[in-house]
Amino acid sequence: MIDLRLDEEQQLIQDTVTAFASEQIRPAAHEADETGTIPASIIDKAWELGLIQASIPEEYGGYGQSQSAVTGTIVAEGLAEGDLAIALHALSPRLVVDAVLHLGNEQQKKSILPRYCGEKFAAGSAAVLEPRWDFALDKLDTTAKTDGDGFVISGHKCFVPLAREAQDIIVYASDDNGVTGAFVVQPDTPGVEIGEREKNMGVRGLETYEVAFNDCRVDGGARLGSDARPLLRRARVAQSAMAVGVAKAALDYSLDYAKDREVFGVKVAQKQAIAFMLADMATEIDACRLVNWEAAWNLDQSNDAAREVAMAHRYASDTVMSVTDNGIQVLGGHGFIRDHPVEMWARNGRGFATFEGLASV
């Protein structure tokens, strides 16, 4: 029977995450964007919430709680509502954990997962995007050619988060048959060349790098499963949830501003042009969330959900841009000033149409 509510456990997780986001993450968001650094203390506190360890079975050191994509979207949205860069940083271990849990064999799980169950935060990473204007998931330039009992990975990646400190990087490359495969690579593997830290329009708090794979050789055990596209769909669902979180942040902020600020003798929010704009923003955010939940729910039913995910991803990417842009408009001149976070959310929001494999549920 149709039921579009969170269950009690999910509700509990949402409350925890949003509380953490507003109390711990949001206050640090502006400075992280301006300075490009995220206080380690926040990442450590986030780690203590156990959001990563929860989904890892006990035999590998985790809490062995059920791993639901829907729950993953709730976590992603909640943290991203606080700040996108910090959310991506804090959830980066999932890039590895989720990949291994879904495609890894027993051996791979045993060897990799425990690294992400320790006392302290352990960064994970994924290398998906490539520096070309027409990047497309089904046309990766990076290749992984079979070489004896292993693979040789060659190609350039960009927007690789935390490449320097990551325990593992999941590298997406096209195999001998042109199938997109996922390969677990450690940053110190010979042939892995981590470039300068990137400068992007948004998510400035997050460390991302260009990474070159120069005939980087990995053994056969590095490959996770066969077709890695399901992982990229999970990433899109997580990113769409984060887009909803960013949009939600912009709505709430501009809503408060409009109720507080006066124009022509009344509150800005009492003007239909602004009030109806806020109404549309709220409606679109709710719609995006529901559409994305359905995509996530389909993944939890182990449906391939290619269609649902593509729709949710596209919808969320467009919506977060228009909502954050409207947020700036509601603030008028003040929306253009960095003292207010709305322009940052617009810069961050614009990224979702480009981001691939930056998070997972």
């Binding site: 029977m1 579009l4 969170l6 089904d138 046309k139 809503l255 929010a269 409606t283 709710d286 719609a287």
Partner: protein, 414 residues
């Protein structure tokens, strides 16, 4: 969280889908072209089918408010949701014919929502006996549309009768309720114009009441199989106990005007569902056409490869599903007895807009065929637009959403 329909919902959906396919589609064009004629065979079939069957009344949206038993039912109710699912199917068949189905309609919804047990028994009890009958709701008047506190039709108490005077327009099924059958119309009238909203009450006016005349049937852009009546009341006398709710002028609470407005929380998701049904009809047709032509939609294709056609189909599917989920959420809440005014307006606003734009796009996508009356696509565009207008225009629903998220009263934001 669950995105699967229950068995019960699926059963009703299939049943209505059958009716849409077999009973409505075959006559859809005829009763669009032959406006103001009566599809009697269809009426009789639907009437027979509905006899004794309570759910069937839900296809008009009166059921949901009956279902509104906060927490009372141990097992979660899904009456409103099932109503929405059914109406999507029927509107997929033909939105005009769906509105024309003989049943208590919005009038019934009002009786269910605000009537006493005795009134429910009297007006709805044997409603499904005998020949087809219609119930209707008369709110709008020539001088106002959205601003329903402007009601100028008066109800004067005279002994044990109410005397109604005024003119109503845009009364769906008003003609069939009053002149084609032994039905009734719920009339919004004021006891005292100077007292504003609280003085507005609704009255049950049965067919055959002297002084009641259907003075005009509107020619419409779409949903032409549905009659839209203008009704004049000249010293129309009805029994004193035909008033719904108390006759004292209560300033606050659901007993008063708010109570009357609350029926919108039930009807808006229903209207949204009907818009979604029409839109889905158009989108299904386009997708079938593409399939027949061997064109498959590549959902994961990149922008450099995806054609405009594919992109537009994906957008339409996404928007349609967004509207549907917003609608189902509002139904969920109604079924749980939660206040859903904001969510009801959200789904109505979204569905109204999606139905309008999507059907316009489908006509465009089908070129000369889309524009021709040989196919039904152009009709769906004409039928869809009403979903963005009645039961509160796009703008009215934006206002209600805005008030809700801003915590504003109707004086703070209007």
């Amino acid at each position: 969280m669950n995105f699967n329909l229950s068995e019960a919902a699926t059963k009703r959906k299939e049943l209505m889908s059958y009716a849409a396919q077999e009973l409505m589609r075959p006559i859809s064009r005829q009763f669009d072209e032959e406006e103001h004629t009566e599809p009697w065979d269809f009426f009789n079939t639907m009437w027979e089918a509905s006899k004794g069957s309570r759910e069937s009344t839900s296809i008009t949206g009166d059921n949901p408010t009956q279902e509104e038993k906060p927490k009372s039912a141990a097992k979660a109710s899904e009456g409103t949701l099932i109503a929405a699912v059914q109406i999507e199917e029927l509107a997929w068949g033909d939105a005009g014919l769906y509105l024309a189905i003989p049943n208590p309609g919005l009038g019934g919804a009002a009786v269910s929502a605000a009537g006493t047990a005795e009134q429910k028994k009297r007006f709805l009890g044997d409603f499904h006996e005998g020949k087809p009958r219609w119930g209707a709701m008369a709110i709008t008047e020539p001088h106002f549309g959205s601003d329903s506190k402007q009601v100028a039709t008066t109800a004067r108490r005279d002994g044990d009768e109410w005397v109604l005077n005024g003119t109503k327009i845009f009364c769906t099924s008003g003609y069939r309720a009053l002149e084609l059958s032994e039905g009734f119309v719920i009339v919004w009238a004021t006891l005292d114009k100077s007292r504003g909203r609280p003085a507005i009450k609704s009255f049950v006016v049965p067919a055959g009441t002297p002084g009641v005349t259907v003075s005009k049937l509107e020619d419409k852009m779409g949903i032409r199989a549905s009659d839209t009546a203008q009704i004049v009341f000249e010293d129309a006398r009805i029994p004193a106990d035909n008033i719904l709710g108390t006759e004292e002028i209560v300033e606050k609470g659901r007993a008063g005007f708010k109570g009357v407005m609350a029926t919108f929380d039930a009807t808006r998701p229903i209207v949204a569902a009907s818009g979604i049904g029409v839109a889905r009809a158009a989108l299904d047709f386009v997708k079938d056409t593409l399939a027949e032509n061997g064109i498959e939609i590549r959902y994961e294709a990149s922008r450099n490869e995806m054609t405009v056609l594919e992109s537009e189909v994906i957008d339409m599917e996404t928007q349609l599903q967004a509207a549907r989920l917003l609608t189902w959420r509002a139904c969920n809440m109604m079924d749980r007895g939660e206040r859903n005014s904001c969510e009801a307006s959200m789904c109505k606003a979204k569905a109204g807009l999606v139905a309008t734009k999507l059907t316009q796009k489908c006509v465009e996508l089908l070129g000369p065929l889309g524009y021709s009356r040989k196919l039904l696509v152009e009709k769906w565009m004409r039928d869809a637009k009403i979903a963005d207008i009645y039961e509160g225009t796009q703008q009215i629903n934006q206002m209600i959403i805005a008030r809700s998220i801003l915590g504003y009263s109707s004086t703070e934001l209007n």
